[in-house]
Amino acid sequence: MKILVCISKVPDTTAKIAFTDNNTQFDTNGVQFIINPYDEWYALVRGLEIKEAQGGSVTVINVGGADNDPTIRKALAIGADEAVRIDHNPKDALATAQQIANYAKENDFDMVLCGKETIDYNGSQVPGMIAALLDQPYVSNASKLDMEGNKATIQRDIQGGKESLEVETPFVLSAAKGMAEARIPNMRGIMAARTKPLNVVEASDSSNQTEVVSYELPPEKGDCKYVEADNPGELLELLRNEAKII
C-alpha cells in the first residue's frame, strides 16, 4: 500500500489565541505548534499500522513554509518513511487541497488519509476537496479502517449513528476518534527522522476562493454567579427567571 497522510501544523490546544495587525493576523508569539491531533493520532498512526501489516510506504505531506519543518520531522519520528512539503502559504482549504491533489495525481497513492478537521480553522474541508479534485471515493469521519488486499472495510460516523461500508482503493478518507491510538516517538525514531527525506516541492497553481479579512475574540465571559450548595434549587430558579432557558 502506498499511503499519503496529510498533516497540518496547528497551535497547541492550550495556546493563547490572540491577533495582531488590527486583528488580521494570528499572533504566533509564544505559541507552540503541533501536528493537528486528528491527523497525527488517527490518520498517521492508522496509516503506519496498515503499512506494518501489509507492506508499502507512508508519505506525509504538508503545505507551508520552512517553519513547518520541525512539525513535519515529528511525523517522521513517529514512523512515516518520507515527507513532502509543498512550499506555499495557502489562503484557504481549497488552495491547500489543490496543492495536495496535484502532488497526489503525479504520484499515484492507494489512499489519502487526513484528520476529520483541524483544530485551528475547524473547517473539515481539505479531505473532501482532495477527493473531489482527484475524482476518488470519499469517506468522511471514519472511526475504523481495515484493509484486505485492495478492499477497505470502514466504519464512519453519520448523523445519529454509525455506518459500515466497503470501498476499493484508491480513496480519500478523513479520520475520527476510534481509528487508532496515539504513538509517542521513541529515541530511535527521533534519531532516524533526522536522516529521512523531507522533500520540498515547488507549489503548483492554486486559487484563493476565500480569505479571512479579520478575526474577533468572543465577548469576555462575565463572572461566575455562585449558588449556595445547601440551596441548589435556587439554580433552577435562576435558569428559569434570569437566563430564561428552562
Binding site: 471515493p137 470519499y138 453519520i158 449558588v227
Partner: protein, 319 residues
C-alpha cells in the same frame, strides 16, 4: 437567481438542522427564491415550507437510498446550474461536513464552514465563522462565484416564514460513488447529544459508573441529553458517543451542566460555545468555574438529588 439548500434527512424525516439551513437562506434571500434539494423521501416534506422554502427539488434516484455524499454533491451542482443558484447552504453537521467540501471541489467554489451569523454584504460577501475550537471567530470573505456556506447548528436563530412550496422531481446524471454501504447502527438515545438543547454531563467526580443514576434522572427532569468527559469514556464508564471535548463531539446546547468535571482545556474546546454553562464541583479552584455562568461548590451526591427534587416540583420535564 435563487439560493439552494441541502435538506438532509434522517429516518425519512427532514432533519432539524435542515430547517436551520432553510431559515438561514430565507433570512438573507432578499427576494431570491429559496430552493431546497431533498434526496429520497421525507414524510414531513411540507415542513421545509414552514421555514421559507419556495420550491423543493426531490431526487428519487435509487442510488441515494444510502448516504452518498459524492452523488449528492453532483446533484447539487446540477441543481445549482438548473436554478441559476450562486449560493448553496448546508448545515455544518455530519451531513454538511461531508457534502459541502465535495461541492466546493467540483465547482471551484468558496466554502465557509461553521457560519454563526448571516452573510454581511456591505463590502463583498463576508461570513463570520467559529475558529480555534470556539476560542475566536474569523470574518471570511468569499471571492468565488459559487458561494457555499455551512451553518453551525444551534447558532443562528431559526425563524418561521411560511411558504407553500411546489415539489418537483429532479433528475441528474449522478454517476457512481464506488462506496458500498453495508449497514447502519443508529444510537438508541431518544435525544441525540448533538441535537439536544440541554445537556447534563459528568466526569470522574462521580467516582464510578454505578453512580450515573442521578445524572440520568436530572437529565430526564430537565428534558436534557447526557454526556461525559474523556476519562469517563476512556474507562468505559459511559459509551464513547457521549464523550464531549476536543477529540469527542463538540456541542453547543443552550444549557450545559457539568458535574464533577474539572474543565481541562480539551474538554472546554468541545463545550465552550454552549449558551449557558453551569458547573458543579467540590473543588472551588476547578478551572471550569472560570468559564461558567453559574456555579455550585459542593458534593454532587448531595447537590444533584436536591436539583432533581426541585426540578420535579417545577414540573420542568413537562415543558
Amino acid at each position: 437567481m435563487s439560493i439552494l439548500v441541502y435538506a438532509n434527512t434522517q429516518n425519512n424525516k427532514i432533519h432539524k438542522s435542515a430547517h436551520e439551513a432553510i431559515s438561514y437562506a430565507s433570512r438573507f434571500a432578499d427576494g431570491e427564491e429559496v430552493v431546497a434539494l431533498l434526496a429520497g423521501e421525507a414524510e414531513d416534506i411540507e415542513s421545509l415550507g414552514q421555514y421559507g422554502a419556495d420550491k423543493i427539488l426531490q431526487l428519487k434516484d435509487a442510488k441515494l437510498k444510502d448516504f452518498q455524499p459524492t452523488l449528492i454533491a453532483r446533484a447539487l451542482k446540477a441543481a445549482a446550474e438548473a436554478e441559476g443558484a450562486k449560493v448553496v447552504v448546508f448545515s455544518h453537521d455530519l451531513s454538511g461536513k461531508s457534502v459541502a467540501p465535495l461541492l466546493a471541489g467540483i465547482t471551484n467554489g468558496g466554502l465557509v464552514s461553521g457560519a454563526v451569523e448571516l452573510p454581511n454584504t456591505d463590502d463583498g460577501f463576508v461570513v463570520k465563522k467559529a475558529v480555534f475550537s470556539g476560542k475566536a471567530f474569523a470574518n471570511t470573505k468569499i471571492n468565488a462565484e459559487m458561494k457555499i456556506i455551512s451553518v453551525m447548528p444551534n447558532s443562528v436563530e431559526k425563524i418561521e416564514n411560511q411558504k407553500s412550496p411546489a415539489v418537483e422531481e429532479f433528475t441528474a446524471d449522478l454517476g457512481d460513488s464506488r462506496l458500498v454501504v453495508k449497514g447502519q447502527q443508529m444510537e438508541s438515545a431518544d435525544l441525540p447529544l448533538t441535537e439536544a438543547d440541554k445537556v447534563v454531563s459528568a466526569g470522574r467526580g462521580l467516582k464510578g459508573p454505578e453512580n450515573w443514576g442521578i445524572i440520568e434522572e436530572l437529565a430526564k427532569e430537565l428534558g436534557a441529553a447526557t454526556a461525559c468527559s474523556r476519562p469517563v469514556s476512556d474507562m468505559d464508564w459511559r459509551p464513547h458517543h457521549e464523550h464531549v471535548g476536543q477529540t469527542g463531539v463538540a456541542i453547543r446546547p443552550n444549557l450545559y451542566i457539568a458535574v464533577g468535571i474539572s474543565g481541562a482545556i480539551q474538554h472546554l474546546a468541545g463545550v465552550n460555545q454552549s449558551k449557558v454553562i453551569v458547573v458543579i464541583n467540590t473543588d472551588p479552584e476547578a478551572p471550569f468555574f472560570k468559564s461558567a455562568d453559574y456555579g455550585i461548590v459542593g458534593d454532587a451526591f448531595e447537590v444533584v438529588p436536591k436539583l432533581i427534587e426541585k426540578a420535579k416540583s417545577m414540573n420542568l420535564s413537562a415543558d
